[in-house]
């Protein structure tokens, strides 16, 4: 019922407007200047159509485009690269295969025997952590953050997804929320009388998100004991 009320109000406004304009003008139809009136209508209407056509031309000459340098991406492709990156991380080959998705690298010197790994504010931390033990003890922790592309409605927003923070303190390695970023955009969609043929949802707006796979790959000295407090460490 709540949906009907604004619809009804709109309908009443529309009906009232249509009837009023028609009635107000109706008198003129019977006056002597009938044809000059219809000519005036013709002029006004031509003016309206001309404005619409100018807008069509403006839009064609200067098409409304994706701005800010955002690119269109193929979501299927994104999904594949996300899976591939995960698989190569599992296989321990991410350094070779995931090179193009490397976003950030850290190197820490650490000579302790135990290392806590914990997160600080992980509200929207969605990173899988992989740990690989090196063959020797060199007192170095190497961390690499990989992330595949993310998209919203087929638009590449990877640049907006910032890597999480990683810091080494006395008592352990801390993972922080990535810096939050925000995008706002407008999108033109087809009218409902087109959507019913193109298979789009009628009143629903189509929105697709693909969040890129994000992986933190740690390489730690051979005998370092890890104490995981994150629950996100895969291995």
């Amino acid at each position: 019922m709540m949906v009907i009320v604004p619809l009804l109000i709109t309908a009443i406004i529309v009906i009232a407007l249509a009837v009023l304009t028609a009635k107000a003008v109706n008198k003129n139809v019977y006056s002597k200047g009938k044809f000059s009136y219809s000519q005036r209508v013709c002029w006004i209407f031509s003016g309206y159509v001309a404005i619409l056509l100018i807008c069509v031309v403006l839009d064609t000459v200067h098409p409304v485009k994706i701005i800010n340098g955002w690119k269109k991406v193929d979501t299927a492709e994104l999904e594949k690269e996300s899976m591939d990156l995960y698989d190569s991380a599992l296989a321990g080959k991410v350094a070779n295969e995931g090179g193009e998705f490397l976003r950030k690298k850290w190197n820490f010197d650490y000579n302790g025997e135990q290392l806590n790994i914990a997160t600080i504010q992980d509200d929207y931390l969605n990173t899988s952590v992989f740990v690989e033990r090196k063959n020797h003890n060199d007192g170095k922790i190497e961390a690499a953050y990989y992330q595949t592309r993310s998209s919203v409605n087929g638009m590449d927003i990877t640049e907006l997804a910032t890597p999480p923070g990683l810091e080494l303190a006395e008592d352990g390695l801390f993972l922080r929320n990535p810096k939050k970023s925000k995008i706002k955009f407008s999108e033109f969609t087809n009218v409902f009388s087109v959507k019913q043929f193109t298979g789009e949802e009628f009143f629903e707006r189509d929105s697709h998100y693909a969040e890129g796979q994000s992986i933190l790959y740690l390489r730690i000295p051979k005998d370092l004991e890890l104490i995981d407090k994150t629950n996100i460490i895969t291995n």
């Binding site: 406004i13 139809v29 209508v41 619409l52 999108e187 033109f188 969609t189 009218v191 043929f197 298979g199």
Partner: protein, 244 residues
């Protein structure tokens, strides 16, 4: 009584040309309504907010839904208006009978549907340009707009509503009872359906047209329905009193 015998087509043609001029004010109301709809559309027809990882996404959607819906309603009202007495009597400026009068009305309504459908779809460019040039604050994503399909399907919808309006108008001319009865029946059914939560007649009629995904079937449905509505109106209008 006329001395020269005039063929039906010629009469229809004459009446049609006359009506285009005499009823031209309906196009002014069309402009009003479409501009109003464009104004309403500025706010966006929908919005969406979500978070993708650390990225907060806020989107507003724009489409010519309002303009198309307003135009359909306009077609409905226009059709009712031209069945009213003041308009009906215009026909008898010429040598005319009910057939020629009805036919010329149908052709006139077809013309208004075409005009309404085309301008409705073109007006989406108007607000696109307005948003683009005057509200540059947010970036804009442009989906491919199916202009021709939009124009074509909107014309058909407007024509369907014209046909419905024409039948309603004719019914009201037969008896004023229908001015109360028809809206009461429509809204009564709508409210009953709303209360019972089941899809009833009104919902299934809407579904019949608005969820048809095959263009060919859609065209057939609209033409058959509009044809039936017009024939109904033609038959009923013969019951109207002969003008003295």
């Amino acid at each position: 009584m006329s001395l020269t015998k005039v063929s039906l087509i010629e009469v229809v043609k004459k009446q049609y040309v006359y009506k285009l001029k005499a009823y031209s004010q309906v196009f002014i109301s069309l402009i009003f309504l479409q501009l109003l709809a464009v104004l309403f559309s500025m706010n966006g027809v929908g919005s969406m907010g979500s978070t993708v990882g650390s990225v907060e996404v806020q989107a507003s959607y724009f489409s010519s839904d309002f303009v198309a819906a307003f135009t359909m309603l306009w077609g409905f009202i226009t059709a009712i208006l031209i069945t009213t007495k003041a308009y009906r009597n215009d026909d008898f400026v010429f040598v005319a009978n009910r057939v020629s009068s009805n036919l010329s009305n149908a052709v006139f309504l077809l013309t208004t549907s075409v005009v309404g459908g085309i301008t409705a779809m073109l007006s989406s460019y108007l607000f696109k340009v307005i948003i683009y040039y005057f509200f540059k604050s947010t970036p804009i994503l442009d989906a491919p707009i199916e202009l021709l399909l939009g124009i074509f399907s909107t014309i058909l919808y407007v024509f369907l509503f014209c046909a419905l309006g024409y039948l309603v108008g004719t019914l009201v001319q037969i008896s004023k009872v229908f001015t109360v009865l028809l809206p009461a029946a429509f809204f009564g059914a709508l409210i009953l359906e709303g209360l019972s939560g089941k899809a009833g007649t009104v919902a299934s009629v809407f579904e019949f047209f608005f969820t048809e995904s095959s263009l060919v079937l859609f065209i057939v449905k609209i033409i058959v329905a509009a044809g039936l509505l017009f024939s109904g109106a033609f038959v009923l209008s013969n019951r109207l009193e002969v003008r003295g």
